[in-house]
Amino acid sequence: MPDIYTTEWYDAVRSAINVGVSQLRSLPEGRFVVAVEIVADGRSPYVGEGARRFLMEIADGSCLWYRELQPGESEKAHVEGRIDYRFLGPATVFDEIAAGLVDPVDAALRGAITVRGDMRLLLRHAEHVKSLLEAYTNAVSTTWPLGRPPYAAVTSGSEGAVARA
């Protein structure tokens, strides 16, 4: 089982995504770049300061690549043009989603995760999006070397860290 947020884990997530979408009849055509920003919130041991940032490219529904950016590394080094979707939220929420403890749709509906981009496409391909989210949430057996969520009680200012980000 890969450790969370390692190259092996990203590869496993990518494979899980592609297995999931291969079951779908209708997939979005074209290429889309998705950026994910997981912001330190004082609780997750996996995001100590600032944020972990990821990029993923989806082509005709399948995940071509999935990589983490190094601190200070520009998105432009990997992407020509515009980021199509951005997901932003506190680290604990993303950790809990990856651990299968929190439903990503619930997290978005309660405003814990911000989603930006062409929401029409996202809604028109709801089955595809759902499949991506399920791959992230449930499909990969993950180890948590620094501890598995849920974490200890909330420390002050965790929500504020995201609000300011």
Partner: protein, 532 residues
């Protein structure tokens, strides 16, 4: 005057100015044309009563400023735009001396509701908390994107299982009225009346089928009412400033007589004085659909069936607003302050609607061309929150009453005879709740009737301040007509970006922002602006 540019924008309301500024920042030479003597359209602020008393003639309540993309994209705060969000946002004052107040502090709002019904207070807390979580996500999806169909939308909600996750969102809401929603979840008539009143001030009548779909979102923004410091016109001014700083030109007193079409493509405009302005890339109309298609475009520019649909199928709000603007020497002191002192600090005040049935009866009356049986206007005193809008010691007052555009057989011109009489009735209604409002404290006042709305701003057809009915039949990809809902027109290079378009009027900027996305796609503009 510039005679050739890249983009001509017809109309300098907030949508026209914002779109002009976006295009100018995208490197285009932009000309925005305004029929009136100044920019702003519905953002006009004028000294309607006495010198120094600044009255917001049309738009007074701005509820989307924090979500609307131009705020950040166009650096409006840097240009001097400032808003106040009053702590006591709204109040309903009832005939029996009780009152309900909505605060920026949820606990205080719930405490106020609990004085009528503890159960309703808990329901409101759950509804607000749920809606507050998804309001920005859903408004970003529904408002700041070119519209989807209701079918696509409900299908997606079903796939994501939203109905199972929510106490309040349901696919069934697309067929229900706000009244039905309120009856399903709330118990106390006054609580329901206040929530319905809030919807009405937003333009959502509580008895129209389908509008329940939007109600949780309205509640999610119920504490987000903001006042533009210096008057609503300040917003128009900062938009103009941004346009100008990026090379755009605003021309006032420039009535467009005709859109020039060559080979099926919009290539410019001709002004009423004969001046021709050529547009290399696009022409945008932000005025009403009727003028655009029936007056400005040459005959034969669009298919006959579209012309016919514009003539017969457009839906306008079947109700309008009668306003009274007042210059006062003191603010109202409500008798209901004995019950809840916060009513004297409330911004938007419902004077008397105590049940949804009372509102329903008035909707029926107004839609059939009659005045409401009992005058129950809403009141706002902006000076309580922005002292700059009146001379020292003075206060501006605003009363608004739902009213028909055409009264009985007299049509809209009947208002010319009735305006002062009905204005006095509205003031008397205010005095019933605030005894100090009267000859001793009112320095001057003037009525502003539904007929005045259309005379001043002809694009608000038949007093329709939302520039199109807010109803299921005129929503999303059906507004203003299915063939025009995606901001494009059959005339190449001619776009629609006014409040006639999805989502509707109000200071959302969404028509301009959404049209911008379509124009960017068509013209290959690089999107530098932020996603919602």
């Amino acid at each position: 005057m510039r005679d050739t540019c890249d983009a001509v924008v017809i109309g300098s309301g907030h949508n026209g100015l914002a779109l002009g500024a976006y295009l100018a920042r995208s490197g285009m030479e932009v000309v925005v044309l305004e029929r009136r003597h100044e920019e702003g359209g519905g953002l006009c602020t004028e000294e309607l009563t006495l010198p120094g008393f600044l009255h917001n003639v049309h738009a007074n309540y701005h509820t989307f400023v924090d979500l609307a993309p131009p705020q950040a994209d166009l650096d409006l705060a840097d240009h001097g735009l400032e808003y106040v969000r009053p702590e006591v946002q709204m109040a309903s004052i009832f005939d029996d001396g009780t009152a309900l107040t909505v605060h920026t502090d949820l606990d205080k709002t719930c405490a106020s509701i609990a004085r009528f019904s503890e159960q309703d207070a808990e329901t409101f807390r759950r509804l607000y908390t749920e809606a507050h979580g998804y309001v920005n996500l859903l408004l970003g999806t529904l408002m700041y994107q070119p519209p989807m169909s209701m079918k696509e939308l409900t299908r997606a909600l079903s796939v994501f299982g939203v109905e199972e996750r929510s106490e309040f969102l349901s696919v069934k809401l697309r067929r229900e009225t706000i009244d039905t929603f309120l009856d399903l979840h709330f118990t106390h008539p006054k609580v329901k009346a206040h929530l319905a009143f809030h919807g009405a001030v937003c333009g959502y009548a509580n008895d129209v089928p389908g509008l329940a779909m939007s109600f949780p979102l309205l509640v999610g923004k119920i504490d987000n009412w903001r006042l533009c410091v210096g008057g609503s016109h300040r917003l128009a001014h900062v938009l103009w400033r941004d346009l100008a700083q990026h090379g755009g030109v605003l021309i006032s007193d420039a009535e467009v007589a005709r859109i020039a079409v060559d080979g099926g493509r919009a290539v410019g405009v001709v002004l009423a004085d004969g001046t021709q302005i050529s547009a290399r890339r696009l022409v945008v109309s932000t005025i009403d659909v009727e003028q655009t298609f029936l007056r400005l475009l040459p005959d034969g520019s669009v298919p006959a069936e579209l012309t016919s649909a514009v003539q017969s199928d457009l839906l306008h709000q079947p109700w309008s607003l009668f306003s009274v603007h007042l210059a006062m020497s003191e603010p109202p002191r409500y008798a209901a302050a004995a019950f809840d002192p916060d009513v004297d600090r409330a911004w938007v005040v419902n004077l008397g609607y105590a049940s949804t049935e009372e509102l329903d009866a008035d909707w029926r009356a107004v839609r059939s061309g009659r005045l409401p049986g009992v005058c129950r206007p809403n009141a706002a005193v902006n000076t309580l929150f922005d002292p700059s809008d009146a001379p020292e010691g003075g206060f501006t007052g605003l009363l608004r009453q739902i009213a028909p555009y055409a009264v009985g057989d007299g049509g809209p011109s009947a208002w010319d005879e009735m305006g002062h009489w009905y204005g006095r009735r509205c003031i008397e209604a205010w005095r019933r709740f605030a005894p100090n409002v009267g000859d001793g404290t009112i320095l001057d006042w003037t009525p502003y009737t539904p007929a005045d709305i259309t005379r001043k701003l002809p694009n608000m057809v038949r007093g329709d301040w939302m520039m199109g009915e807010v109803s299921l039949a005129n929503m999303l990809d059906r507004r203003p007509l299915p063939a025009l809902a995606q901001y494009r027109t059959p005339v190449e290079g001619l776009y629609l970006a006014g409040s006639t378009q999805h989502p509707h009027g109000f200071i959302t900027f969404a028509p301009a922002y959404n049209a911008l996305q379509v124009i960017a796609d068509d013209l290959g503009l690089e999107a530098w602006w932020r996603d919602v």
